[in-house]
Symmetry: D2
Subunit: 457 residues, 4 copies
């Protein structure tokens, strides 16, 4: 539940009101990052940029969108502002260089950023932000090729890790996905325009049609001649992040071509088979546990109930009285329905369990509301390893399951029982028959790309 | 004067951090009004007030709460700002008069405001706002009694309609509910302090214990001697608003001592009995239709599915491209899950149907997502009359069901069938055995208190 | 220098863009109050109001002015927000009462507010603010007359003290000045419209023509039939505030028909005659001492120099380092020109000396900049009494001259000599031949209207 | 790239509250730029940055300054934000590169920016802003030297034009002035700390002592070992900008060691000798014409009067009614004192005349206020050439004097006569005996450094 997404990207080309469509696309991707957002548009060979802190709807007012003219645009919504400086935190990142103005936004994390930065710094490059984007732009501009497209390919040869990237230049829009396809990126069609989005829910809002995934390792180039595709990398087996299906993505999205609601529901069903329990109610931890809880209820035959109600008006901050309130942090967001829970044996379903501290408070709260038993069911395997591909996870020593067995976890969160989905079940939910089709590194430690040197997997 | 939507009120006394607790109370009542909020506190015989436009968490920062000292406080969260003037829109309303400083906030609408205002104006009173609160305060100050408590009772003899009121004076907090008890008001206990709230979900957040409803017609007086109760009105049969259970209140609240989730679920069950249909899925219109949909699914045996996903980041405004997007207004808030709905016979469950225009768009959207059939089920009877007791309803001629039969409504919204809960079913859901225990005026036109002269029922 | 003005008023009728002209009028009166401002306009029998905290140009943007339609408007700019509540602090004050909607704004202070308030409160009136305006509006609405004009006259019979008032009703604009004419109010003509302003500098900005003063005791009524004048009070000798000429008003204004720059310059000339000194430079304390310093230099023959430069970008707050800076508070606003002052005998000219603490710092600062001698010359008599007619003065015990002779004052501020203008000189500057034509109470304690009971003259 | 107006820089080292002192320094330099400001501080080898749009006092609140710890700081206040992007507009500019973190702020304009940028871009550099600062930082990082100090000297060998620069690194503060010393930079002492400022008025506010100018071509290096000075450039004759004395600097500052008020006054005296006229009043165009007008009055014997009053509350924007007001743009800022001007022969003194449109409106306004004659006197020679060294001047074709003789100028602005200071007089005012000591390019077209290729001198 505490895993945080990194960001969402959206782009469209060639579309008369490119920045407005991008604004709506980011609007639908708002769940992928609420800290900052930006849009860069292209008009008659010039790029226009606006970024800000906060929600998309607050940053982009009518007059602001008027300042972003043109028929091509890319946008970004971002989760966290490391460093605290607006300038360096928000994307797209726009520079002037050998290929004129180039804007870039990306979802994902490079694993060799530090090596690349050091090397570039040694050769005289300066950086104005800690952003991966700036590193990629520097590599592009130092490539030997004399056109952006080839320079980009040179740059891509050097970077490792996870990236779904949109670039906007004075004459082109480019969409790039790393060879493993760690992060999602979908291609759609809006009238005669092409649209790109981290998730398809953005297409739905615009009335765009889903076409396909940008393939892992693919580089799509859009310019006045239309769209071309290139595959510069040697073919490897893709490993898209399974956690998008477990937690991040909106249930109404297709991600990697699969319905998130469908996979999540199947996880719940298999969880019910794997860890049945005699109980009176299946209660999701909202909102992320809802689909799996429905699957659990369906397969187990135990009634589904909204026994925890989420407050949808949670502000960024709230002030607690000095006389502290039990479980305050959780209570501000969730409230148990006493009348439902009283005397009942409750199956709580959540998508994952990271540090365990929130789950502990929820279990306490459900018990305090009168539940006779609380059985925690997690619709993914134990999270034992950190992610280095674009998911904000704590370091390994803060992962509850990294050093504890299920019984210890049960004791820590104070539940009557705890049951995790097995890796095999998860693979089955994803229809990943040979278990080779996705990145499961946070559950297995089996990293497709080596983590950065300092990273403690 | 336009009708006003619901509001929420909260108060506590005597509590060391009264304004902070009131802030948290309003936080939990945020769904009852997002346009404005205010808190008035009492410290050593002086009142302190802060009001603002927007959400509770944005208006009340730490420094603002520091400016609201003392051991008593009342607060208000408001739906709409008629007139546009901050000063007159927000509550509590604070005046200086015969009884020193008095602050008042209320939930509900008086039905004889205009007569009272005219009479007061004729006798030289001036009004700075269109607020009922100011009328009540004027009546109190013009009463013959020489103490606030009796003056309040004199004032209450003159006002008609719906009111759940909290007053704060230099030495007292008073809680008042009209004889019909149209609007809810609960009493709780937080340590040695008393707390009042429109709904009990606020008690849950604070860790306060629910004690009972403030009774219809009751006046509770809290001062340094403790709490006293008075019943100044002749006894009549209470008629609390049933719509709080149908739609307005949070499902995790007790309202009139009944669990909202419980009554709503029962409405769904009875709806399934009353209007069964062969279908593949029961899909709620989120969030208000969820509990009834669960009841419908339970009773009908048809699987429950979240076929419509709500975007929780909807801002106050959003900008639509010039090339208009089909069903844009609804799409910004709701997205159909195509994979679930495709080819399916869908039962859509919503709590009520007022103008019908939104439902029409939702039905269109669900069909466009591939549903084979769309059956609309409404967990309340046809809304045929306006409310004059504090719910924001359009005038009768804008109520779809005021002039149309079910078949016409079906045709209007484009569904394959439409089924409403009957009044008897609604009464049964509320355990109102003789059908005399609640106000059903919006469904029947049977108004316990005559509507205002200009009001077109 | 530390005297603070209370406010400025402006109105116009009938003028197509009444609110925009009023906005510009307030803009020119901004020096009379920077804390809050408001405009009320009238369109087709309805009043529209907007008020806010801050500067006129920040409060009234284009969209805000669009919300203030109509052909009549009044506006107000206010110095201080006693009580801290926006609602009650800003003017105009708008109410609904016997005469429909009435808005009022005033410059001045009533001396019997408390008695009037108490009496009104006893008869059931409530007040939402500490403002005199609300008292006057209550009196109007409780008058026996059945039309606003006569009701206003009844109200005026009861109020004592200083008031220059503009009222806007659904059909009229009224301009009122108290019988003593304590505060200024000028009448002008802008095309076919009448305009009212505290000072004529507002007429200059609009291109309006100065017509005359609203006479002390006069009530001007403007409606669709044109303008009428009434004099309801028994004739008395007017006593307009001399301090408007000494300090408050802008030098480019006519006040009471006299050029402020002209009177101020004459004060300086007479000061030079009364208190000559051998010196090298005449240096004004900017900006208020400039005109008098020019007069002093002219008459004395000593060169005029800007030896103190004012920082025009002084913000509301500034942060001082922990290692405190000598004379910081004054230095933020004024900087001595070392090269000019070094070794020189300096005549410092200021308009008045209230608490003396700022003057002390300035004298220190000028000495530290190298001045050989510092002679303080004040272009008004010693301020020995508080004002109760609309000027923000400290209570008597904080007035340096209330209890100290000139030698003690000299010692306190650390000057080599101090010289005040005499009352006779001041009268001569104002061309007040018999000394009966103005209010000199702050210099003499001779109050035309008795101060309020609690007031310590 | 558009020309940029002046800026102000300030720095201090090693001073316990470096950022607070820098904040105050910028406060005193606010007249050098009101659009944006920034401060970078150094604490234990780390740099902290905050920048924003607007006034110093609004950007830097207490909590913001708390986030800028350490004993070294540099700051910048900026006139205009070309490009509209906060990130790229404001300074200091902070990068991470070969020498760790380095922040830079500068006053002045390089003349070979475009060539340097092109060259750097060809070698793979990217730029995130149009700022000269970023170019300099790139040059430093690409230098062959392996320490910042020498790398800076290498960079300086390549840049041409005007620069007064402050750099802050993890261990040093460096102050640099170009060989011609186009822009000012003073060195002061605050206790044991060194302070740098564009003008000495900032030293006065802090209580710092003026030491000397940073010499043209000098590089001062401050680190834990104290301060060292280097002169890397071949010795040339300095050409500091004379316009700082004519118009830009505050009169209470020393600039190039000369009192601005003193030189300005002398310009006025010589102007009176050069262009005497029979008149009744000398009236300055405030505030920039005041000192020269005093000099003119002194030498001519004609009385000095403030015949134009400046409104000190001019906001960023103001709204004009549709019925346009004559000379509105000027009237908002300046108001003529009718009583002074009526029937008088007026000498108007201003510092310079660029486009002439404002002067034309002022002359009109003064005539409309009743002046019998209006004689314009300009305390500098005709401005015939654009500046390329950091002053915001229009291109040559917009300079009134570039293509017109004095009589044509007189006709254009509608004055009875026009008189300019001669170049010789200006030199005399500056005590520049051989006329070789300053840059007079805007008056002569004699550019010490060739303007940029695209620049039209």
């Amino acid at each position: 539940m505490a895993f945080k997404d990194e960001c969402g990207v959206f782009g469209c080309w060639p579309e008369l009101e490119a920045s407005k469509q991008t604004y709506l696309g980011l609007y639908a991707l708002q769940h992928r990052g609420q800290e900052a957002a930006g849009i860069c548009s292209r008009d008659e060979g010039k790029l226009y940029l606006h970024k800000g802190l906060g929600h998309v709807a607050d940053i982009f007012t009518g007059p602001v969108l008027e300042q972003l003219p043109g028929d091509g645009a890319i946008g970004h919504t971002r989760y966290s502002t490391t460093g605290g400086n607006v300038a360096s935190a928000a994307q797209p990142f726009l520079v002037q260089g050998r290929f004129g103005q180039v804007a870039l936004c990306h979802n994902g994390n490079l694993t060799n950023t530090e090596q690349l930065r050091s090397r570039l710094i040694q050769s005289g490059q300066v950086f104005t932000s800690p952003s991966d984007s700036e590193v990629i732009l520097a590599l592009i501009n130092r490539a030997s090729a004399d056109n952006l497209e080839d320079a980009l390919l040179e740059a891509l040869e050097q970077v490792q890790g996870a990236y779904s990237i949109l670039l906007l230049t004075e004459t082109q829009l480019l969409a790039v996905r790393d060879p493993y396809g760690f992060r999602p990126l979908s291609l759609g069609k809006l009238g005669s325009a092409f649209v790109f989005s981290s998730e398809t829910c953005a297409f739905d809002l615009l009335g765009a049609e889903y076409v396909r995934e940008v393939a892992p390792g693919e580089v799509l180039i859009l310019d006045r001649d239309g769209m071309r595709s290139r595959f510069p990398h040697p073919q490897i087996r893709p490993k898209p992040c399974v956690f998008e299906h477990v937690y991040f993505s909106r249930p109404d999205s297709l991600v990697y071509g699969l319905s998130v609601m469908g996979t999540r529901r199947e996880m719940g069903r298999l969880l019910a088979q794997r860890h049945p329990v005699e109980a009176d109610l299946v209660v999701p931890v909202p909102d992320s546990g809802v689909s799996a809880a429905l699957g659990y209820a369906e397969r187990s035959g135990i009634p589904f109930e909204f026994g925890l109600i989420r407050n949808h008006y949670v502000g960024r901050t709230f002030i607690e009285p000095r006389q502290s309130i039990r479980s305050f942090g959780v209570k501000v967001k969730l409230n148990p329905v006493r009348e439902l829970l009283k005397g009942k044996r409750v199956v709580l379903v959540d998508d994952s369990l990271v540090r365990g501290t929130t789950s502990r408070k929820i279990v306490q709260m459900v018990r305090a509301a009168g539940a006779a038993e609380v059985h925690m069911r997690i619709s993914s395997p134990p999270t034992t390893h950190s992610c280095f591909y674009g998911i904000d996870t704590p370091s390994r020593d803060h992962l509850l399951a990294a050093s504890r067995g299920v019984e210890q976890i049960r004791a820590f969160i104070g539940a009557d029982s705890v049951g995790y989905l097995t890796l095999e079940d998860l693979q089955a939910s994803m229809k990943d028959l040979d278990g080779q089709g996705f990145c499961y590194a946070c559950f297995t430690g089996d990293y497709p790309v080596p983590p950065p040197p300092g990273g403690r997997p």
